[in-house]
Symmetry: C2
Subunit: 391 residues, 2 copies
């Protein structure tokens, strides 16, 4: 533990409800777990705050038996598309609830709980917008423990929970249902519809029972977001090192510090893809000396980070530091605020941290779904070395 | 009336039911009204024949009050996509009925009748496949009186009948529902899904009441197909001129005869687009002398035909003969069999005929939906001159 870490944070480890005043912390934590993607939570935070002020706090239900009935009707909701577009195209406040209503009507089964499928980014907060309007609780958990770019990339897929029926809606009043042969077909059809709808859409998918949610979701991740956000906020107030606070909270590891010297990004097939280069030094070195550079590859989210010495112009000595499924997060050097890939800019001073993914992502089924080879990189996953366990 | 036309054809003008043995005539007639597109009815004819042999004849119901109740639940069904693909990718026999079932389940309203939206091409027969399996009658009419390339291009659109909810299914087991803000959004979303599904899909759309069907469909077009097909067959048996028989039956006009000398086609955005050139002479001249050439432009269907003299190499004297909404059909010179755009080949001897569209297609709303300007041609519609009325 770094000496600058706060010795004791006296706040509840688990959130029992989400109030309007809790939203900024959850948004800050979700931005970190977004690993550069997931959409900047800023706009979702505005919508969530407004919904909670209008409808009151939303109860948060743990996944444990006793709190969540086996036969609960759980509906997940979130936005799909290129984060670069999502942050510019505000969804109407009614759209997340509408996506759930469309799916519930198709299934003929009223929802009892709302869930996050993706805790990283704006999809951590949109379920609260829907839940507040529908008068429903939200589960304390999610399907990824981070953000991933494609809809089938959730642990429930590895448990055999069906992706569809899913609903898709846009801000123009278009809606639809997909009921597909495989999870990958759900991704393909929903992705082309999303692109046609203008590169962003709101979807409700993976409808599941309480028992399926308990088995296949990652528990406690809404509360984890709140804790990350709280430690960032406290660290700034108390002049601690915010990045070290985050690393401690999530059991992660700082990899690299430096200055962004190049960003190449393109929006294609509905994704924000690109490469960013940071010049500086591995943690422990002097970032200003620029002895090394770190290359980040992303598709909405950061997929891998590789290190080379500054003198290595061909890159033949480059070394993979971490890849998916583990989390790679770029934080502002001083404030610890997460920087999304669309906000990466030349000259930014940043620190790169890595966080171990839920261990189930390192199973054979998990790696097949979200490992580096799926994204076209010819390597086995490289895991965060020397990191502590996620609390 | 041409002297070679049969003086009297002693067959019923209206079909009361479709039997397996009627299928070839309806298919031949539908191919003519397909105006080069709509998909070669060959495969749909095989499916329809098999379904009728298994389930028995399908009753055909006229649109008149007394035959069709105002509150009937009418479901249309057909294939969407590039005809070049449709003829190579046989839909499973269950798929049209499945498309109707998916939509009926979504609406919570059982179908009482099946309808054709597009009488030109394979979509004249697929509704009979579904109707035979579902034990339902088919209406004697359709939404176009021909074939058109986009889903919103039906007369019901001009009457305010909603395009959606619509269902979409493919042969891989994928299904979906679209419920869109406008008819054009239905086309856009269904088209991208169709392309993703492999350039063909089966859809059920424009669900309507019996009263809406009576008002907005074109009456009698299933029977018209049967009559066209019968006259083609009789003409071949009795050594009459099949093309003249068709022209007489539909109140059309022969425009040009000659030999195909060039075809350029491309499959893009889910459509078969292209240009064909026929060298020959306007009707009355000697095709072998090649004094003129006719240029046909198509997007699945023929959109326009233009005439120029053979000596006019720049095309500056080119003259538009006929454009959409009127029907432009290319028939084999000797047999009168319709030639679809994907079967146009260098060296084919063909005759080009034109048929007046339903007069409602020449209304302001009709021309806005399917006139030449919609397809990118800077001209008002050019109508068939000197043609008789459709019987």
């Amino acid at each position: 533990m770094s000496p600058s870490v706060s010795p004791a944070v006296s706040a509840p480890a688990v959130l029992a409800e989400l109030r309007a005043e809790d939203v900024p912390d959850v948004a800050a934590g979700a931005a970190v777990l977004g690993t550069g993607g997931g959409g900047d939570p800023y706009i979702a935070a505005l919508l969530a705050r407004a919904a909670l002020l209008e409808h009151g706090p939303v109860p948060i239900v743990p996944l444990e038996r006793g709190a969540l009935a086996d036969d609960a009707a759980v509906y997940s909701v979130g936005m799909m598309g290129a984060p670069t577009v999502m942050v510019e195209k505000l969804p109407p406040a009614e759209q997340p609830a509408q996506a759930i209503r469309v799916l519930a009507r198709y299934r003929g089964l009223e929802p009892s709980h709302v869930a996050c499928l993706e805790i990283g980014g704006l999809n951590a907060l949109l379920p609260f917008v829907a839940a507040a309007q529908l008068g429903l609780p939200v589960l304390d958990g999610d399907g990824m423990g981070r953000a991933f770019p494609e809809v089938q990339m959730v642990l429930p897929t590895t448990y055999g929970v069906a992706t569809t029926p899913m609903s898709i809606t846009d801000e123009k009043g278009n809606g639809g249902i997909f009921d597909t042969a495989t999870p990958l077909w759900a991704e393909r059809l929903a992705r082309t519809a999303t692109v046609e709808m203008g590169c962003s859409a709101t979807i409700s998918l993976y409808p599941m029972t309480g028992q399926q949610a308990r088995t296949s979701l990652i528990p406690g991740t809404v509360s984890l977001c709140a804790r990350i956000g709280r430690r960032l906020r406290t660290a700034r107030a108390e002049h601690l090192d915010p990045v070290a606070e985050v690393v401690d909270e999530v059991g992660g590891r700082e990899l690299f510090a430096g200055t962004v010297v190049d960003v190449a990004r393109r929006t294609e097939t509905g994704f924000a893809r690109g490469t960013a280069t940071v010049a500086g030094a591995p943690t422990g070195g002097d970032p200003a000396a620029r002895t090394h550079s770190a290359r980040l590859e992303f598709q909405n989210e950061h997929l891998l980070v590789a290190l080379r010495e500054a003198a290595d112009t061909t890159g033949e000595g480059e070394q993979l530091l971490v890849t998916v499924p583990d989390l790679i997060c770029v934080l502002e050097a001083d404030t610890g605020q997460a920087v999304t890939t669309e906000k990466l800019r030349y000259g930014q001073r940043v620190r790169v941290i890595a966080i171990p993914a839920d261990p189930r992502w390192h199973s054979e089924a998990g790696v097949a779904l979200v490992g580096p080879r799926y994204f076209g990189y010819d390597t086995d996953p490289v895991r965060v070395a020397g990191a502590g366990a996620v609390r």
